[in-house]
């Protein structure tokens, strides 16, 4: 059985536009995989495929050997794949605590246990004081953190994070990085999409670079940052320097 999250030959077309072209990569258990590429290269579409938000036109997505391509997001969550969004999508009219409880609707855990877990995660994110605050009243960075811990509520083995550092204050950005590392050390895998290349290279165990919908390079941060195709398509001189 192949362990972890494996994408093989994933393709997705929107009308005449091929957003993802036969993308293949693996997220081994306990790793942080950075997903980089220029705007429009297919990163967010790939994340949407890996979470069941979109159905691939072709290809396979397996989690610990179980085929999930074409299944609903619910199935992905049940198999331990959760996510955050490119633009923060917390539910603004409910509190921070209630936001965390929403993904747990179909779990069989007791209410007390769910509350205990939610409160633990709010503490982990430094949001305990905002437990009963409406999500809309949190700052942008706090909303990012809330969205992150909401993705942890169902006890995932892999979290897909779309631009977690975008528009976040540097100190909160550091908090976010620390929390990702902490959870990773406890065994959770991450796929992180980001344009913040130096930060992402330091955080990731492996990096996948996409361009024009295809995976053009997959390797260690060192290998990817030195790959000529990556430099040409995305990093340019700045990437080489970093």
């Amino acid at each position: 059985m192949t362990q972890g999250l494996v994408a093989a030959g994933l393709s997705k077309r929107f009308g005449g536009h091929r957003a993802v072209r036969e993308a293949s990569f693996r997220v081994p258990p306990g790793t942080i995989v950075g997903l980089i590429g220029p705007n429009g290269s297919g990163k967010t579409t790939t994340l949407n495929l890996l979470n069941g938000v979109l159905r691939p036109d072709a290809g396979s997505i397996t989690v610990d050997g179980v085929e999930l391509a074409g299944r609903s997001s619910r199935e992905f969550v049940r198999r331990g794949i959760t996510r955050t969004f490119q633009t923060t999508r917390v539910f603004s009219t409910v509190t921070a605590l209630e936001n965390l409880l929403i993904p747990t609707l179909h779990t069989r855990l007791a209410r007390r246990e769910l509350h205990r877990r939610a409160e633990g995660l709010l503490e982990f994110a430094g949001l305990s004081a905002h437990r009963d605050t409406a999500a809309s009243e949190l700052s942008g960075g706090q909303q990012k953190l809330l969205e992150f811990v909401r993705a942890l509520m169902t006890g995932p083995n892999t979290v897909l994070m779309d631009e977690p550092f975008a528009g976040v204050h540097p100190s909160l950005k550091e908090t976010m990085r620390e929390r990702i590392r902490q959870r990773n050390e406890e065994g959770t895998s991450f796929v992180v999409v980001s344009h913040e290349i130096p930060d992402l290279m330091r955080l990731s165990d492996e990096v996948v670079c996409m361009s024009d919908g295809a995976v053009i390079c997959h390797g260690s941060p060192q290998e990817v940052s030195e790959d000529t195709r990556v430099i040409e398509a995305y990093l340019g001189a700045a990437g080489r320097a970093s």
């Binding site: 609903s72 997001s73 619910r74 049940r78 996510r83 603004s92 993904p103 609707l105 009963d132 809309s136």
Partner: protein, 324 residues
């Protein structure tokens, strides 16, 4: 749990205590008016489950109410079942009617559901007019479960009051449960809720069925209260619109909304009826039906300027405004 969460239920319990003797202490006409408000509140609680908490506009509550009305009336007329025997059947058949409606439409988003529910109201009215079991336009008579004006008025006052208390408890539980949070997530951002693993169609369907059960129950009681039912009055679009009005005025997606809204709408309707009957500007007679124009204007004003309804006055604002 914030202490403020108990203020509302405590106030509601206080109002309930005050209302407890009303069935026998107030004038018959006032008891009947309050009973009408309680019935509207019960159906509005049903609408609020999906419409208020979940943000899905439903114009078909009269169908589920009407199925309850006819189920009780037919069982009473043909099989001589008593009121209490017919009520579970009325609620059950309303749920069975809502099931295919929900399965067919709740995979779709927003407006498709609203349009479909509008259409089924006319289909149901047409079916009741033409089917033999409903006795067509001739309607169905029910036997009152009590004799004398006061006992009848008091019986239905207490029946509706009891079911409204239960429905309010249910709405409170929904509002503060993971199910309720999921419904609010659907109202705000259904795609995000689905991406987080919420079975959105199942959640919406459960809310619709819960609402249909309450409407069916209200219909079952109404069949015995009114004594005679016919298709046009039973499957009336007016009722479907009234419950939307009640929830918008009272406060969408809150357990207090249907209670406050029903009280305001029924009192306002009564006052307007009296006003239009007595006031004759320039010698003209204002048709009593003109009260619909006033209520319609009120709906528009609340939708534009007071989206959180009357219940919003008592609760701090939270995030984006509620919309349907």
């Amino acid at each position: 749990m914030p202490r403020s969460r108990w203020l509302g239920p405590a106030a509601a319990a206080g109002v309930l205590l005050v209302m407890a003797p009303f069935g026998y202490t107030l004038k018959l006409g006032i008891v009947t008016t309050i009973t009408a408000a309680l019935m509207l509140a019960l159906v509005a609680h049903g609408w609020n489950m999906l419409g208020g908490f979940g943000g899905y506009l439903n114009f078909g509550m009269a169908v589920f109410f009407g199925v309850g009305v006819y189920s009780s009336a037919i069982l009473n007329e043909r099989l001589a079942w008593g009121m209490w025997q017919t009520l579970p059947v009325a609620a059950g058949l309303a749920v069975l009617t809502a099931l295919p409606v929900g399965l067919a439409t709740l995979r779709l988003r927003g407006h498709y559901f609203a349009i479909f529910t509008l259409v089924i109201t006319f289909l149901a009215q047409s079916a009741a007019l033409n089917l033999a079991i409903t006795n067509g336009a001739s309607g169905v008579y029910t036997t009152a479960p009590a004799t004398g004006p006061r006992p009848i008025a008091a019986l239905f006052y207490y029946c509706f009051l009891g079911f409204v208390v239960l429905a309010t408890g249910l709405a409170y539980a929904v509002q503060h449960s993971n199910f309720g949070y999921a419904l609010r997530a659907i109202r705000e951002d259904e795609d995000a809720a689905a991406a987080l693993g919420v079975r959105t169609t199942a959640v919406k369907l459960a809310a619709l069925l819960l609402g249909a059960a309450l409407a069916g129950l209200a219909g079952g009681l109404y069949a015995f209260q009114t004594g005679y039912i016919e298709p046009t009055g039973t499957f009336s679009l007016g009722l479907s619109l009234d419950v939307v009005l009640v929830c918008v005025i009272g406060g969408l997606g809150t357990w207090q909304g249907p209670l406050l809204g029903a009280g305001i709408v029924v009192l306002l309707e009564q006052w307007l009826r009296t006003l239009f009957a007595t006031v004759h500007p320039f010698g003209w007679t204002i048709p009593i039906e003109s009260n619909r124009i006033v209520l319609g204007l009120l709906l528009v004003l609340f939708a534009l300027y007071a989206k959180r309804g009357v219940a919003g006055i008592f609760r701090p604002a939270r995030g984006s405004q509620l919309n349907v």
